[in-house]
Amino acid sequence: MTFLETLLQQSPVLIIATPLLSAFLMPLVSRIHAKVRDVFALVVLGVTSCFVGLLASDVLSHGPRIYIFGAQNLSFPLVRILFEVDSMGVFMAIITVMLASIAVVYSWSFLHQQDGLDKYYTLLLLVVTSALGMELTGDIFNFFVFLEISCIASCALIAFWVDEGEALEAAFKYIVVSSIGALFVLFAIGIFYAQYNALNIATLAHLLQFTFLDKIVLAILLVSLGMKAGLAPMHMWMPDSYGRAPPSIILIIMSATLASVYGILRVMFTLYGNVLTTSLRFSLPAHVIIGWILIALAIVSILIGVIMALVQTDLLRLIGYAGVAEIGYMFLAIGTSIVALGTSYATVALHGGLFHILNDALDIGLLFLVAGAIYYVTKKRSLDDISGLARSMKFTTVFFIIGALAVAGMPPLNGFTSKFLIYESVYQVNPILSIIALLGSILLLAIFIKVLYAAFLGPELPELKDVKEAPRSMLLAMGFLAVFAVVIGLFPNLVLDTLVKPAATALLDHAQYISMVVGGL
């Protein structure tokens, strides 16, 4: 066995262990020098990205991989934990490490004169660990543990600017919502264990009978993970914490949020994949009812997101509400693919939804970084206090235009591809839904044109005369996201064929996920 093969075999655990152990090394490393600490954070994420890349190339060509902690063969009941990595988990892991690396580069300049940065980087790496863990694990209790780690670490990061009362308020809201959500996930896990004496996702999916208790568990899991993902009507923590956390870490919290979206996908398609087509009352199959509930919540999220974004004056909060709308688009696609399970446009909808996870991370992330850059140079949050920034911040203006057009789904950029897939497939279910979705996009465009005029064009304010362009590392981070947005927009098939389609296939083909564990081991 070559070195590379050994590394590949151990990579699922190395992906978790590298950021986790480095997180606790961080306070020691930062004793040496601030520069060393900054570089160390990026190097750790670079190494993790290498492992993710190695694992991804293998999983995409050879199918799912299993990593066993504990007993290799089950002769009598032993406790062990499995990691099961398929193309879907790999897709999410790539998004997570990409967002984290960009956030670290951005943080270098954004926070360079603040203290407590050793703790900042420790927490940052912990959130990355938890998101990666949620995406790679094959054990539902393990999923809960990583979910709780992400709650605690993200909450501490939201309250990073502890001098501001608003940041504390947002952090408290976040921890109340997410810890109650996580406790109910644990309750659901308890019900599963009571019925099936198993904690492994594949084993549970194999044994699931869809009893009355299973229906309750499904409702609990959807509500609590939906709360963490920012789906309406429990979206209100999202604009609060995105509006008050340091913009450099919003990307990280976003990756934890997207990991919860992944949790819902895993629950719906894998855990309940076998029983989705059983019929409930009035000879309606379960997937139609659940799908329509998700679609209804998604439409509410889109409408609340855009309408509340219209009236905001605080730039970061405004983008936070746009983020709620984007989450709505993802769930619109997921709901559609569940309603239409088995038809060809269900697959198209799932492609659109998964692709939109990546595009949301890129576009909303880019807009947050731009808003952070504006805050960094002007120290102002409200759109009423800034004007005419395009004269002094040329690059930032260009990045903002790219991000705004991408969020609104304009053709040459990445948002267009995924939103087009979503409109196209949602139209098959009900044309009105796709009209609402289009309307939401148009309103988003209008909102960001308004921001463009208010913040970047217009007369130059006297107190903003000596504003300079954002520092180089921030421009670099924004540039990366903008380049990704343009490249993916011009060549969508690069990502669609290599990452998104295998991920959708892995989700729809739950039998393979189950047979990896139940059949062979």
């Binding site: 109650i180 308890g190 009571a194 509006g243």
Partner: protein, 119 residues
């Protein structure tokens, strides 16, 4: 009937906790509510693993004559509960420190008055 009492207690604790979180205005009471929900869930896990007359699931010190593994209480729920308790302590500490800082900034613990984040 008597064997259902623990489950009734679990449901009661979760409902009391949720009521406290939703309707109480004092931040400390909200924290207490979350603690009660957590205890309810932990109690649920513990009673799942209980077996009438079972011994502690320590493999090396089983009393002579115990049937294995039927004579032991289930070890997995106990491991889950321990993990959950540890996590719960961390969440509790974090929430209380946030409450402390909020009190310093705002001078009150009433959620109605802590509303600087506008809609």
């Amino acid at each position: 009937m008597i064997e259902y009492i623990p489950f009734i207690a679990v449901v009661a604790m979760i409902i009391i906790g949720l009521y406290t979180v939703v309707f109480r205005r004092n931040l400390i009471k909200i924290v207490i509510g979350i603690s009660i929900i957590e205890s309810g869930v932990n109690l649920f896990l513990i009673i799942l693993g209980y077996r009438d007359g079972g011994v502690a699931p320590i493999f090396t010190s089983l009393p002579p004559g115990t049937s294995f593994p039927e004579g032991m209480v289930l070890p997995v729920p106990q491991a889950l509960t321990l993990t959950s308790i540890v996590i719960g302590v961390a969440v509790l500490a974090l929430m209380l420190s946030l409450v402390m800082h909020i009190y310093r900034k705002y001078g009150t613990l009433d959620v109605q008055k802590i509303r600087r984040l506008k809609e």
